[in-house]
Symmetry: C2
Subunit: 631 residues, 2 copies
């Protein structure tokens, strides 16, 4: 692995410059705007999260403002602002204004802003960074403010969070009288980098850098802090500071550990800071951690963090299916991290994982109607796991909402001499390359079909490179510039096909990615998948769901020679390509009276239908399975 | 299922009338007596469990006598008494006398006896039967007293527990002023039946019957008790009274649920009471529960209770291997229950499970040197699960000790016209059949070999039936009366070969049970074992252990046509028959750089050695696996 280059090759094209007009994501974005955002606001209202900012809570009242309530409201503001940035909506804008005014009214004279600690435990402010989410909530409020400012130009929330960030910058640091603390749940670090970008105030970048650099140093802040509270540090419930990635300084970390969402937010901030500061140690750490994650600890769906116990990582190759925790927020966080890593060298390995998480382990987190949410995303279910309207710990619903509302930013990157296409999504991107406006339009039925036509709308001929990702799942592709009689000059770099030429107005490129149904095998050390096989087509992982199949799923065996073929079903699950073929189904009728026996089970052929994993649990409750025993 | 017969066909031959002189169990019994009992006493002493009976604890002192400490000491007394009953040992007898005198000194004037509640929380006596183990501790003390009385004829502890039981009988019951409570952890019910048998006092049987009958009635005692404590009954941590089998009255129970040890002790008491009272409803409930357990919730090893969460049962067919809880105590409890059920109709289905649990899931709970113990008995391990010298919650070590010390009682049953042989163990049983003393001697190398020769030592010819169990694992057997020229008259009844004849002095019977290496498959709905196979020979389940095999175990595949052959290794693990053959081992070298891929893994043949499951983790730490993917 080489990692000398710490400057970014590319910059993401902002989602405000991207139009998504496809059959796959555009409907999900509409549903997000029209249904999900309203539902989530109402849930925040109904549960007291909004009214908590009125600061009218008194001891004995129910509900008690919880330590992470503020973050849910903040993520809703962020998601709503992203929506507003591409789809003007005066009612939503007014609701945001009202909510932000209420939040501003809760800010304390010194800049502090937290509904729990202001009202419920004012004497405990900043006394337990390890467990209490104060800086985490602050980070989400900062992200919300940046999004709102970018969407509306209004500084109402931005000014609030700048005051809060300035106050935090006084409290924390290495100077005299400052606390040398850092968040138990990372988040504020990446938020402060965003705040730096919109304000151009280097002190916010420096504060982010401080939080990242201080993490895991000795003497350990959480030890000192626990002792100051009169607690034995050894009584920390999680037993290890690896839980929040503070077991060693970040540059010394080599394995992804602990709570998965915390890890993703930290690594995202590390990737941010590496680019801002040119720090090769941070990027090298990110690359080591990336290798550990993707070689040992990643579900086929892009889900991460198998364990409920720590909501996070365990041992290499420990990827159980039924009990997979694979929190929606963790897959969303993986998209964030992958996207940041992708900008450095435009390496497909990052875009492949980003695409996998987007189309599978993150998208599964929300129902097709946008009204219900998975917190956990297992790869097998007995039929007892269903999306819920809301959660007491409600991090996931607004997280998937903000991802969907800002999805456009993951499609393209660029610099002054090239355009990179990471995702194939019908619609367009509006670039400024060398001073000239260029509109790149994609026409495609992706992910149902692998053919993509690109049209270039530019006023005058211009030379630049077009980088087109050849996904890792694609074994064979074809590309041509329409109208060209001779073969075009291309080469592949880090998994991207590079077409360097002088482009003229009306040029069009046709890319065809072969998208057969693939059998996928897991590394032999993934015990949960030993002897098993999964089906994938393009970026989509498939699963068996009970609603399509008459047999109990645990009895299905996928024969080595079975062939499954794709069929587009326009009326099923919003329009999906299903896979149909014949499985062997084990007979359990002759097992009456015994649980174990010397005779192997007999099996008979049975027609079966697979659906995309993201679409499961949108019909009658039932079993689901991604991995099947291969017969 | 038929269940009209509620009287017992047979009575177990007490272990005091059984000599075990074989290569398998006799060394384990010696180790139990010579090593384990001493270690366990010392652990009780070192941890404060013994000294707690001095009643010198004062607030602020460490350690604080725990709510279930008394039961550990009681089980040690019970195990030591069983040992004393067959192997006189003045030192042990003195130690028992001293310990019992100390216990007696802790009895309160009203008969109450509990080190925790007498010293630590005297005001909370009998206020939380649901969680606090008072009646459970009382039950174990009663079992200890009965064992000590039977071993020594001394009434020192028996008189103590009679006073305690009499006091408990005043506190609990349906009469005016009595509490209508029953134990949250069953145990005292079966203990009171034992106490009834040695005292002939019907009030102890009636009290057992009361506890069993009252269980699960409405209004629910644990609701009322929680409210009386000022607690919301809905806040019960386990969420459901199924946790302690009090969700419905016992006669209405149809599925084994909740904490596995609690369940086994309750069902054992139900089986006891059915025989004592002729209650067909109790026996019918036991038979329904037995069917549910053995068809849906039993590990191949006889382990039960897959979940750590409730130390107990979950859904049918939910039998994960790596995370199997399968507490040692639960397998021991299953032996108790199976043994009780076996006496009704002498049905092999009970003896098969009893034998399986004895030779596998219970015996695995103790190391070969008798010094270390498993609490959990998983069927697969990454190499991080090891026996421990002791536990804070130390129920398992003395439980396996009392089982080993009283093992002889599981070998034979009898009545005035027949002798039943359930287990094949070299040694002898001393019966009184129709007024005549009969000694039945077994000569066998079981479980390493399936040939058993029985010799009958009797003074004069006598007619009775000899019932010889044909184990469920045995597909072919041969039996002959030595010296007979003609075929003998036999028939098979409930899986037992019945030889009815006039036996003469010196008669000998030779039974040959074919004992090939068997491949075992689990029911197709056991998801954890789908596509997998295990090896069994005779009563022994086999496993791969790292110490014998050079490859990482998760990469092993057992080909359908692979043949494994038994080899006795006298110097290995105390002398075991291993199974040797060739596996396919998947190659992971060519997986560098990816976690998932479309190409199936390649495999190469590799020699492999299986050892009996009970013997794993007695050498260098390493992986273990019972179920292998079948290739």
């Amino acid at each position: 692995m080489t990692t000398s280059q710490t400057s970014r090759l590319l910059t993401p094209l902002p989602f405000t410059a991207v139009r998504i007009e496809d059959v796959f994501w555009a409907p999900r974005q509409r549903t997000n705007t029209e249904r999900t955002l309203g539902i989530e606001y109402q849930a925040c209202k109904d549960t007291g999260r909004i009214d908590a900012f009125k600061l009218q809570w008194k001891p004995g009242m129910q509900p008690v403002p919880h330590i992470f309530w503020d973050s849910d409201v903040a993520k809703w503001i962020e998601a709503a602002s992203y929506s507003l940035a591409t789809q003007p909506d005066p009612d939503l804008e007014n609701l945001l204004d009202d909510t932000i005014a209420l939040i501003a009214s809760a800010q304390q004279p010194d800049g502090y802003l937290n509904t729990h600690f202001t009202q419920v435990e004012p004497e405990k402010r900043w006394t337990n960074l390890r467990d209490q989410h104060e800086l985490y909530c602050a980070g989400h409020m900062i992200e919300a403010a940046v999004a709102h400012f970018q969407a509306t130009g209004k500084r109402t929330l931005l000014d609030v969070v700048c005051r809060y960030a300035d106050y935090i910058g006084q409290v924390f640091g290495t100077g005299p009288g400052q606390k040398r603390g850092y968040p138990g749940h990372e988040e504020i670090e990446l938020a402060l980098v965003k705040l730096y970008h919109v304000t151009n105030e280097p002190r916010y970048l420096a504060l982010a850098q401080y939080f990242v650099d201080e993490r895991g140093r000795q003497p350990h802040y959480y030890d000192l802090e626990a002792i100051a509270r009169g607690e034995d540090p050894a009584k920390f419930w999680a037993k290890t500071y690896a839980y929040n990635q503070s077991h060693v300084p970040v540059r010394e970390q080599t394995e992804v550990v602990g709570h998965a969402v915390r890890a993703m937010y930290l690594y995202s901030a590390m990737a941010d800071l590496a680019g801002e500061t040119g720090d090769p140690g941070l990027l090298a750490a990110c690359e080591r951690l990336w290798a550990d994650l993707t070689l040992h600890k990643l579900y086929l769906t892009g889900g991460i963090g198998p364990s409920r116990h720590n909501e996070g990582f365990t041992e290499p190759y420990d990827l159980p299916n039924e009990t997979a925790y694979a929190e929606t927020c963790a897959a969303v966080g993986l998209v964030f991290w992958a996207h940041r890593m992708l900008q450095y060298r435009c390496d497909r390995k990052y875009a492949d994982v980003m695409e996998t998480a987007l189309y599978n382990g993150a998208l599964s987190g929300i129902s097709l109607d946008g009204e219900r949410f998975f917190y956990e995303n297992p790869l097998a279910s007995l039929g007892n796991h269903h999306r819920q309207p809301w959660f007491d710990c409600a991090c996931c619903p607004p997280n998937i909402a903000r991802l969907l509302a800002s999805l456009g930013q993951y499609v393209y990157s660029y610099n002054d001499r090239e355009i990179a296409v990471h995702l194939y999504v019908q619609g367009s991107g509006r670039f400024d390359i060398g001073g000239q406006a260029i509109i790149l339009t994609q026409n495609t039925a992706y992910p149902w079909d692998g053919k993509v036509t690109f049209e270039l709308d530019l006023a005058a001929p211009a030379e630049f490179a077009l980088r087109l990702r050849i996904p890792g799942w694609c074994q064979k592709q074809d590309v041509r510039v329409l109208g060209e009689r001779t073969a075009i000059n291309t080469h592949v770099e880090n998994g991207y096909l590079v077409i360097q030429r002088v482009w003229t107005p009306g040029d069009a490129v046709e890319l065809t990615l072969e998208m057969p149904v693939e059998r996928i095998y897991a590394h032999p050390d993934v015990r949960a998948d030993s002897g098993k096989v999964a089906l994938r087509r393009g970026p989509l992982v498939y699963c068996l769901e009970q609603a399509d199949n008459a047999f109990p799923l645990q009895r299905a065996r996928l024969p080595r020679d079975a062939r499954f073929t794709p069929h587009f079903e326009p009326d099923l699950l919003g329009g999906v390509t299903v896979l149909r073929g014949t499985l062997q189904v084990v007979d359990a009728e002759d097992w009456q009276g015994t649980l174990y026996r010397p005779q192997p089970p007999a099996a008979a052929p049975c027609e079966a239908t697979f659906i995309p994993y993201y679409a499961w649990d949108n019909r009658a409750p039932g079993q689901m399975a991604v991995w099947l025993v291969e017969a």
